[in-house]
């Protein structure tokens, strides 16, 4: 177990180097000068510009810039943004925002996904099952961007059920609308996967054995079918959780939630390589951690993959 975790952590190091290097190179390759963009139309004195460029190592070769950024990240000296904000402070403020949004959205998604997936799987071809298949097909086809703006307009501007954007009304009110939209859009895949998985498991031989043992239908469902049907779903949930940060870049920007996604969006716009790499590293570490957790959970649920 400990060895398994250590092995995973070690394997993550080279991947981490590649990911951060790649991300940094992408930001470096973007056109435009970050400091000029920051200044807008106003002219900047050449001396100020040179000082700023030196402060952010903008004239150094690419690899030196990368190594300096990584050194800052690893030693915990995050520094300031081009605009002068302390990055460590920013992280302290923004991480909770993203966590709240992600967890709330996932809670919605899992609750809906597990509930409808199990119900439809157990009552195949019932009306819930049929309407679920149809509804999920529609939901899977709706692009997130369209749904976010539509929900913002309908429930925020017109019906005034939720704040349109921002976090002024705090948790959970300000987070409800984006979380609901993400959750409702996301549950379709989960529900369909679980339903299919249950339908496949129902025909397994061991289910026949369970029936031949004279077990009640409920016991067969919860003790024999579901634990086996959940296995592919766990993998799906892991991948989905890991993809949440990518989604947060868009949702936080649209709903004006000051989280990491919005921070990332601004940093990319301003070509702030250091911040982008820092946030990518954070995302990468959380990705590794989530994957590790999923693997451990998988081992608990399925003895066949234990210690692999």
């Amino acid at each position: 177990m400990i060895r398994f975790i250590l092995r995973r952590a070690l394997a993550a190091v080279p991947i981490g180097v590649l990911v951060t290097l790649g991300v940094f190179a992408l930001v470096f390759a973007m056109p435009g000068d970050p400091l000029r963009e920051l200044a807008g139309d106003k002219p900047i004195p050449a001396a100020v510009l040179a000082a700023k460029r030196a402060q952010y190592h903008l004239d150094d070769p690419f690899i030196v810039q990368y190594l300096l950024s990584m050194k800052d990240i690893l030693t915990g000296h995050f520094g300031t943004t081009f605009a002068g904000a302390d990055i460590a402070d920013q992280l302290r403020l923004r991480i909770p925002v993203t966590l709240k949004l992600t967890l709330l959205a996932n809670a919605v998604q899992w609750t809906l996904g597990l509930f409808f997936g199990i119900y439809a799987g157990f009552k195949r071809n019932g009306w819930v099952d049929r309407s679920l298949l149809l509804a999920t097909l529609v939901l899977l086809a709706v692009p997130g961007l369209v749904a976010y703006f539509a929900a913002q307009y309908l429930f925020g501007v017109e019906l005034k059920w939720f704040p349109v954007s921002g976090v002024l009304e705090g948790f959970p009110r300000s987070y409800l609308l984006p979380a609901l939209v993400i959750g409702v859009l996301g549950f379709a895949g989960l529900a369909r996967l679980l339903r299919t998985s249950i339908v496949e498991t129902v025909n397994a031989d061991f289910v026949k054995t369970a029936r031949a043992k004279g077990l009640g239908e409920q016991r067969v469902l919860w003790r024999h079918i579901l634990p086996n049907a959940l296995l592919p779903v766990v993998t799906f949930i892991g991948l989905d959780l890991a993809g949440m940060f990518g989604g947060a870049i868009i949702t936080e920007s649209i709903f004006n939630l000051p989280g990491l996604g919005q921070f990332m969006f601004q940093a990319i716009k301003l070509k702030e390589g250091g911040v982008v790499v820092l946030l990518s590293t954070l995302a990468f570490i959380s990705f590794i951690l989530i994957n590790l957790l999923i693997d451990l959970l998988y081992g608990v649920l399925d003895p066949r993959v234990r210690n692999v």
Partner: protein, 333 residues
């Protein structure tokens, strides 16, 4: 040897149909058999002959729909399993009548330890505590001769070999001391030496408990080793019923004869193994009259006229062949 124990399970005129997109298909047609305490009855037939479907239908584990019991009764000590409510049947199936299946790897729940799966029988049917049930499960593993049983109760199915897994299946099926064990091709997935061990184990455990065993198989070798009586099925019909020794030495139905003829034996050394020509009919296109007539070496025009009835040739000896039963009748005269 003819067992004289009490009739435990008596199947009478059982017919099962499946609904398919091409219309209903009759997989089991008017099948009757019975098993007594202490008797081992073999149901012999090729795949698709309806041998498994009949037992799955009467124990209620057949998927219905698409399956459907058209007619017939299956009486356990006089109570008809087919007419019973599911709740009533669950008290018998899994407790008094239990089953063992062919592929023990897929027939055991992969994410539960074997101990938990055996213990579940005690927990559900006897209401035992988890601890007691696990203790009994370990005892059962020991009874089916799994080495170091107490240490292995917590192991998972994939950690056992094929033969050991089949022993686990047996332990689970015999946990509650059933009256009837239905073993559906219990040795098919095993290699020959392990097959012999499992059959011997079933025979030993049967002798200890005086239970009735229904052994479903396509393997004549298995039948000749352990079965007291044999029921031969072809395309959903019983075509011959006899004591095992009789059927093996003196088969009446040409299908049984063909099966026996295609058994490898020392006499046939160096010669090509005879086979039954053709393939079993699709259940959607069973020939009129006798289903076997298209592959039968002695078929005549009359065979197409009607389904041959199962006629008694001698006490405990029945066959469904108009050619042979009339011959036998003539000889008897």
């Amino acid at each position: 040897m003819t067992a004289t124990g009490e009739v435990l399970l008596k199947v009478d005129n059982l017919s099962v149909e499946f609904d398919t997109p091409h219309g209903p298909v009759r997989a089991v047609d008017g099948v009757s058999w019975q098993v007594r305490a202490g008797e081992m009855l073999a149901i012999l037939g090729e795949s698709g002959s309806g041998k498994s479907v009949s037992t799955q239908a009467l124990t209620g584990i057949l998927e219905m729909p698409p399956g459907r019991i058209v007619s017939g009764t299956a009486e356990y000590r006089g109570a008809d399993l087919i007419q019973m409510t599911t709740r009533e049947r669950r008290r018998i199936v899994g407790d008094r009548i239990t089953m063992v299946f062919q592929d023990s790897l897929s027939a055991l729940n992969p994410v539960q330890s074997v101990g938990t799966q055996i213990a579940e029988c005690y927990r559900v049917h006897r209401g035992m505590s988890k601890r007691d049930a696990m203790k009994k499960a370990a005892e059962m593993l020991d009874q089916v001769r799994i080495p170091a049983a107490a240490k292995r109760v917590g192991d998972y199915p994939h950690e056992f070999s094929g033969g050991m897994r089949q022993r686990v299946m047996l332990a689970m099926a015999l946990a509650l001391d059933p009256d009837v064990l239905i073993a559906d091709e219990p040795t098919t997935a095993l290699d020959v030496t392990v097959q012999a061990q499992i059959l011997e184990l079933i025979a030993d455990l049967q002798a200890e408990r005086d239970m009735g065993v229904v052994l479903i198989t396509h393997d004549l070798g298995v039948v000749s080793d352990v079965a007291d009586n044999v029921v031969v099925m072809y395309a959903g019909h019983v075509v011959e019923r006899a004591a095992t020794a009789e059927a093996l030495e003196n088969p009446v139905h040409p299908y049984t004869e063909g099966l026996l003829g295609s058994m490898p034996s020392a006499d046939l050394k160096g010669r090509e193994l005879p086979t039954i020509p053709g393939t079993p009919p699709s259940l959607r296109a069973i020939p009129s009259g006798c289903a076997f007539r298209t592959r039968c070496p002695i078929a005549v025009d009359d065979c197409a006229a009607e389904v041959p009835p199962l006629l008694t040739i001698a006490p405990g000896r029945e066959a469904a062949c108009i050619r042979r039963t009339s011959l036998a009748a003539k000889e008897a005269v």
